[in-house]
């Protein structure tokens, strides 16, 4: 019990409101970054499988640049250089943080979409086109629905990675979980409690996401068919 006496958990309790705000910030940053990253990433991924050079190369270069540089550097550049240059002043860490997470996760998602699309047997595209579907109709009705199923596990991993990477927003003073912990640590000059608690919060969040992904994976399984057999005349 001595071990537990060492900890002063009331520090966390005293700062519960700040932690709640930090938790909320982490969730919002991750959710916005993820949704934006999926949409933008899908466009980039489609660009990467395009035969048109003018679409392929910009998408490819974008993905290479954003996957090849650290998110930490990207966040600092966006917050301190890009946004102030474009808008004349900083738009706050919310904007910079979400923009940075979207741009970064889009590059990773693009790779997932590209690989997912290319993993579908080319006979599927041929069958769809031979029926008279246009390329984009075939993509929407035949290729993407199949590719999405295969993308769910890697997209789930990407969600978890992004959740943890959102802690980097702390360097542009984004008041998420880690930032709050730093404040608490600075105030009390104690490091075990605030950082352990931060780790605990991230663990709870990633665990919840893992369970959610597993649930979705099961639901979209090709053998899962909630539709009852219809009676046909």
């Amino acid at each position: 019990m001595e071990f537990f006496d060492f900890f002063r958990w009331e520090i966390i309790w005293n700062y519960r409101e700040l932690y709640a705000k930090g938790l909320w910030a982490t969730i919002v940053l991750t959710a916005c970054g993820y949704i934006g990253g999926i949409i933008f990433g899908l466009l980039l991924g489609l660009g990467q499988v395009s035969k048109k050079k003018l679409i392929y190369w910009p998408a490819k270069i974008y993905v290479d640049v954003f996957r090849g540089t650290p998110l930490l550097v990207q966040l600092l550049l966006i917050h301190l250089a890009v946004i102030p240059t474009i808008f004349g002043s900083s738009q706050g860490w919310w904007v910079s943080g979400i923009v940075g997470l979207i741009l970064n996760s889009a590059a990773y998602n693009a790779e997932i979409f590209r690989a997912g699309i290319q993993s579908i047997d080319k006979g599927q595209m041929e069958a769809a086109r031979s029926l008279g579907l246009t390329h984009s109709q075939a993509m929407r009705k035949v290729i993407l629905p199949q590719a999405f199923r295969r993308m769910i596990p890697p997209l789930g991993n990407e969600f978890i990675a992004l959740l943890k990477d959102s802690s980097l927003v702390t360097v542009i003073a984004g008041a998420e979980i880690l930032y709050v912990s730093k404040v608490v640590a600075g105030t009390y000059q104690r490091f075990w409690e605030p950082y352990l608690f931060a780790a605990f919060l991230y663990l709870v969040l990633t665990y919840a996401v893992t369970k959610l992904v597993a649930f979705i994976e099961k639901r979209v399984d090709i053998n899962y068919n909630p539709r009852k057999k219809k009676e046909r005349a």
Binding site: D121, G123, Q124, E126, A127, A128, R129, S130, L131, G132, L133, T134, Q137, K141, V142, P145, Q146, R149, I222, N223, N225, R227, K229, K230, R232
Partner: protein, 240 residues
């Protein structure tokens, strides 16, 4: 109905088709036979531009399909295709496989499309499988669904690319039976096949291809009974 003029097809440096001329008449069943690598599948796939044509011209009902100005999607709705590997859409039930294209392209409503699909499933003897998924079906059943799917666009021509080659022997017959009925109804068909019995019985014309050329063609009785070309003789000697 389909006119092929001086068709050439290169894959990189490899020349697969070295100048094919042929005309498929309406309601004709043309069977294409020949050793593997002879270019017969490529020839078939050129007819709906699944392979880009390197040189030459293909006309379907007078429209040059390899003209860049031609809307190939429109042409393809008139040309049904059945693949060796079936290529059913695994994420859709059997009936959705069949109704998808008519609903997307012909703007049929769901009710009409499903009625059409059920008629076609009757035709291929699979009405009771409408709500199953492709992987719950045997190979022969899947191929029959694939034929129904192609027929749902009401094509004027059907192309078959070795439709029974991926099937277990006991399932070949059920697919050939469906094709035979289709021929009887007067469908124009081009069939790349290794089923010599089918070619002989159902074909109006047989083309023997080798090395990127049509080496010999004629009525099945003549080609099978009295082949003229040495290569035809050698090939038939091995397979018959």
């Amino acid at each position: 109905m389909i006119k092929v003029e001086n068709l050439h097809k290169h894959f990189g440096k490899l020349e697969v088709l070295k100048g094919i001329d042929y005309e498929v008449q309406e309601k004709e069943v043309v069977c294409v036979i020949g050793p593997s690598g002879s270019g017969k599948s490529t020839f078939l796939r050129c007819m709906n531009l699944l392979e880009e044509v390197t040189d030459g011209a293909i006309y379907i009902n007078g429209v040059q399909i390899n003209d860049p100005k031609t809307n190939i999607n429109e042409i393809r709705t008139e040309v049904g295709m059945v693949f060796q590997q079936f290529n059913l859409f695994p994420h859709m039930s059997v009936i959705d496989n069949i109704t998808m294209a008519p609903m997307q392209i012909r703007n049929l409503n769901k009710q009409d499309a499903e009625q059409l699909a059920m008629e076609l499933l009757d035709k291929v003897g699979l009405r009771e499988k409408a709500d199953n998924y492709p992987q719950q079906l045997s190979g022969g059943q899947q191929q029959r669904v694939a034929i129904a799917r192609a027929l749902a666009m009401k094509p004027k021509v059907m192309l078959f690319d070795e439709p029974t080659s991926a099937l277990d022997p006991e399932m070949v017959k059920e697919v050939l039976e469906v094709m035979k009925n289709l021929a009887k109804e007067g469908m124009t068909m081009v069939v790349v096949t290794h089923e010599m019995g089918f070619a002989r019985e159902v074909g109006d014309r047989v083309l023997f291809m080798d090395g990127g050329y049509i080496v010999e063609q004629g009525h099945p009785e003549d080609v099978f009974g009295n082949p003229q070309n040495e290569r035809t003789k050698a090939f038939l000697g091995k397979v018959l």
